[in-house]
C-alpha cells in the first residue's frame, strides 16, 4: 500500500512546494506593503531653496527663502463643497466665494486654495480633517530687517522671481548661487544708522520724502542707501503712506547748490579760476539778457572765490561757470557721467533732464548753481565722489568687492581734486556746512537748497529740497555721505530756517559720527576727557 511516490508525483510535490513558497513570498510582501506602508511614505524633502541668500558685506542675512507651502484642493472628494470652502477660507484667509466658485468649476481638478502658507496655517488646515488637500512645498522670501533696506533690496513675486531692487538686478547671480549666498556691499549697521537718522530728520522737519547714500569713494561700494517713505517687504501690499519707489535711484532732482562743486572743479581744472582768493563782485541781482538772477540770502558786495562756495553764492558761482562757457560745461558734466542714466546693479535708474538743444548762457549760469538740470541723487554721488577721490571715475556697485581701489579713468587732475577737498573742508569749517562737522573726522562737504518745481513748471514758493554732500576724512577720503530732504520745514530749534545747513547738514554730521568708528576711520583728535565725567563739572 505504501508505495513510494513515483518520479512524477515527487516532481508534482516539489512544484507545489515551490508554488506555495512563491505565494508565501508574495503574501509576505503584500502584508509588508499594506501594513508597513507608512514607513515608505517618508520622502526626502524637496529642495525648495531656489534663490540664494542675500547678505551684507559682513555676512549678516538680508534676504532668505523660508520654506512655506502652497495649498491645493481636489474638490471632487469633498462631501460638502460649500462647507469645505468656508472652513478653508477661515483657516487660510482665502476668499470663500473664490474657493466655492473654483470647487464648483468641473474643468479644474485642482484648485489653488492659498499660496505660501506658514506652518501655523498648515496646522490649522490639517486640523480641519478635510480629504483631498495637497501641500506643494515652496519658498517665501523673507527680509529680517524689514523696512530698513526695502527699496535697495527690492522684492520677489509669488513665484520667487525678483521684481525690483537687487532681487531683480542680481537675479542671475542669485539663481546661479541657489542654496548659497550672494554678498552685497551693504553694511547693515551703516544701513540702519542711515535709515534711523534720515527717518528722524524727516520727522523733525516734516519732509515729504527723504533719502540717503553712503558710498566708498575708492571702490564705489554702496554701504547704505535709504529712501523714505519706504514699505514692508515682508507684506505683499503697501500700507497708507508707503512707497516702493527708490527716490535715490529712480527720481531726478534739481539739487541746487551742491552742484556748485562741479562749477568750481571745472574752473580749477581749466584754470579759468586761477586763485581761490580772487575776488568777485556779488550784489543781489545779476542780469543775463532779460533774465535776473537773485541770491537766496543776503550776500556781501564782494566775495573771494573760496567764500563764494562756502557762503553758497549763486551770483558768484554763475560768474565762475560762465567763464567755462556752455560747450565746455556740457562736455565736462557729460564726462562726469551726469548727462546719461547711471548703470549699477540696481535695475532702477533715471534719465537726467537738461536743456538738450538749448544750452546757452542763461542755462550755463543756472546749471552752474544747480538749477535747470535734474539728475538722480545716485548719479550725483558717483560724480561728486570722483571730484574728491583723486579725480578718478567711480562706478557705484552693490556687490561686495575684494579690491580696495577700483577707481577708473582720470577725469580730473589730482591737484584739482586736492584743491576741491580743501574747499569742501573750508565750507564745513567756515561756511554753510558747519553743522556737519564731527570733531576728529575732518568732514568736508557742500550744502544744497534747491527750489522745487510745481506741477505747472513754476517753482513752488518757499518750498525747498535740501541736501548735503559730505566726505570724510576729507584729506584722505574714504566715504561720502549724501542726504536729501524733500520740502523740509523749519522748526523752533532752527529758528524757522529749513535751508540745508539747518536740516541736511546736521543729519549727515550725525550719520558720520555714528558710522565712522564702525568703519574703522581713525579719529585724529587727541583723547579728551568729557566735562560730564570731570569732578569739576557741576
Amino acid at each position: 500500500m505504501n508505495e513510494a511516490p513515483t518520479v512524477f508525483q515527487r516532481r508534482i510535490i516539489i512544484g507545489a512546494v515551490l508554488c506555495v513558497a512563491a505565494f508565501a513570498l508574495v503574501g509576505i510582501r503584500l502584508v509588508h506593503v499594506t501594513l508597513l506602508k507608512s514607513l515608505d511614505g517618508v520622502r526626502a524633502a524637496t529642495a525648495v531653496i531656489a534663490r540664494a541668500d542675500l547678505t551684507d558685506r559682513n555676512g549678516e542675512l538680508l534676504a532668505r527663502d523660508l520654506p512655506v507651502k502652497d495649498l491645493y484642493a481636489r474638490p471632487q472628494v469633498f462631501w460638502d463643497k460649500g462647507e469645505a470652502a468656508r472652513a478653508l477660507a477661515g483657516a487660510t484667509g482665502a476668499d470663500a466665494r473664490r474657493l466655492l466658485s473654483g470647487f464648483n468649476n468641473a474643468k479644474h481638478p485642482y484648485v489653488l486654495v492659498a499660496r505660501q502658507i506658514t506652518p501655523d496655517t498648515e496646522a490649522k488646515v490639517m486640523h480641519l480633517g478635510l480629504p483631498g488637500l495637497e501641500f506643494e512645498p515652496g519658498g517665501k522670501r523673507y527680509y529680517p530687517d524689514g523696512r530698513n533696506a526695502a527699496q535697495v533690496l527690492g522684492v520677489t513675486d509669488p513665484d520667487n522671481n525678483g521684481v525690483s531692487g537687487l532681487e531683480l538686478g542680481l537675479q542671475d547671480k542669485i539663481h546661479a548661487a541657489a542654496g548659497g549666498k550672494v554678498a552685497t556691499s551693504i553694511d547693515m549697521r551703516v544701513q540702519y544708522i542711515l535709515a534711523h537718522e534720515v527717518e528722524q530728520a524727516r520727522k523733525t522737519f516734516s519732509a515729504h520724502a527723504a533719502g540717503g547714500v553712503v558710498m566708498n569713494v575708492n571702490t564705489g561700494e554702496v554701504l547704505g542707501m535709504v529712501s523714505l517713505p519706504n514699505f514692508d517687504p515682508n507684506q505683499r501690499r503697501l500700507d497708507a503712506g508707503d512707497s516702493a519707489k527708490n527716490i535715490m535711484a529712480q527720481d531726478v532732482y534739481e539739487l541746487g547748490s551742491v552742484f556748485k562743486i562741479f562749477s568750481f572743479a571745472l574752473a580749477l581744472e581749466d584754470r579759468t579760476l586761477r586763485s581761490l582768493d580772487e575776488v568777485f563782485n556779488i550784489g543781489q541781482v545779476y542780469k543775463i539778457g532779460k533774465h535776473s538772477i537773485h541770491e537766496a540770502e543776503h550776500m556781501p558786495a564782494t566775495l573771494p572765490a573760496r567764500d563764494i562756495l562756502a557762503q553758497s553764492s549763486n551770483i558768484g558761482t554763475l560768474q565762475i561757470a560762465l567763464r567755462s562757457g556752455p560747450t565746455r560745461q556740457r562736455e565736462f558734466l557729460g564726462h562726469m557721467g551726469l548727462l546719461k542714466p547711471i548703470r549699477t546693479d540696481l535695475p532702477e535708474t533715471a534719465r537726467p533732464l537738461y536743456p538738450f538743444s538749448n544750452w546757452g548762457q542763461i542755462e550755463t549760469a543756472t546749471i552752474g548753481f544747480g538749477q535747470g538740470i535734474s539728475v538722480s541723487p545716485l548719479s550725483f554721488v558717483a560724480a561728486a565722489a570722483s571730484v574728491v577721490n583723486g579725480g578718478r571715475r567711480i562706478t557705484p556697485t552693490f556687490l561686495k568687492q575684494t579690491a580696495t581701489d577700483l577707481r577708473g579713468e582720470q577725469v580730473l587732475k589730482p591737484q584739482t581734486s586736492e584743491q576741491m577737498r580743501d574747499l569742501l573742508r573750508y565750507v564745513v569749517t567756515d561756511g554753510s556746512g558747519k553743522r556737519a562737522d564731527v570733531p576728529g573726522y575732518d568732514v568736508g562737504g557742500k550744502t544744497g537748497s534747491a527750489q522745487v518745481p510745481g506741477p505747472h513748471g513754476r517753482y513752488i514758493p518757499h518750498a525747498l529740497r535740501t541736501s548735503f554732500y559730505g566726505v570724510f576724512p576729507v584729506h584722505n577720503p574714504r566715504y561720502v555721505v549724501f542726504v536729501l530732504l524733500d520740502q523740509p520745514h523749519g522748526t523752533k530749534e532752527t529758528g524757522g530756517f529749513a535751508l540745508a545747513g539747518w536740516t541736511a547738514a546736521p543729519t549727515v554730521g550725525r550719520v558720520i559720527q555714528r558710522i565712522a568708528p564702525l568703519l574703522d576711520v581713525p579719529n585724529i583728535l587727541p583723547p579728551t576727557k568729557l566735562a560730564s565725567t570731570s569732578p569739576s563739572n557741576p
Binding site: 513570498l25 517618508v42 557762503q311 559720527q513 576727557k529 566735562a531
Partner: protein, 117 residues
Amino acid sequence: MVRILNFFCVALMGFSILALYHVSEKTRVAHMELSQVNARIAQERGTIGVLETEWQHVASPDRVQQLAQAKLGMADSSSVQLSSFDQLPRRGADPAPLNNTPVHNASAQIPAPDSGM
C-alpha cells in the same frame, strides 16, 4: 547521485532566493532609513534657516538700539570719546594730550547761527 545533486541544487536555489530576498529587504530598509535621515537633515536645515532668520530679526541693530536705550540707559557715543591706541600716552610718559582738560561734548555743541544755505 543525480537525485541528491538535483535536490542540493534546488535547495541551494531556495536558499539563494531567500538570501537574495533578505539582502533586498535589508537594502530597501536601508534606503528607507536613508530617506528618513535625509528628510530629517533637510527638515533640520530648514529649521536652522528659520532660526537664523529669526535671530537676524531679533538681533537687528534697530531692536538692539531700542533695548539698549530702554533697558540699559545707553546712548550713542560722541566722537570725542573715541581714539586710537597710538594716541594714548605711554606708561609714565607725559599724560598730554589727555592732560585732564575737561572738554565738553563737542559733537553736541551747536555752532553759531549763520546763513545755512
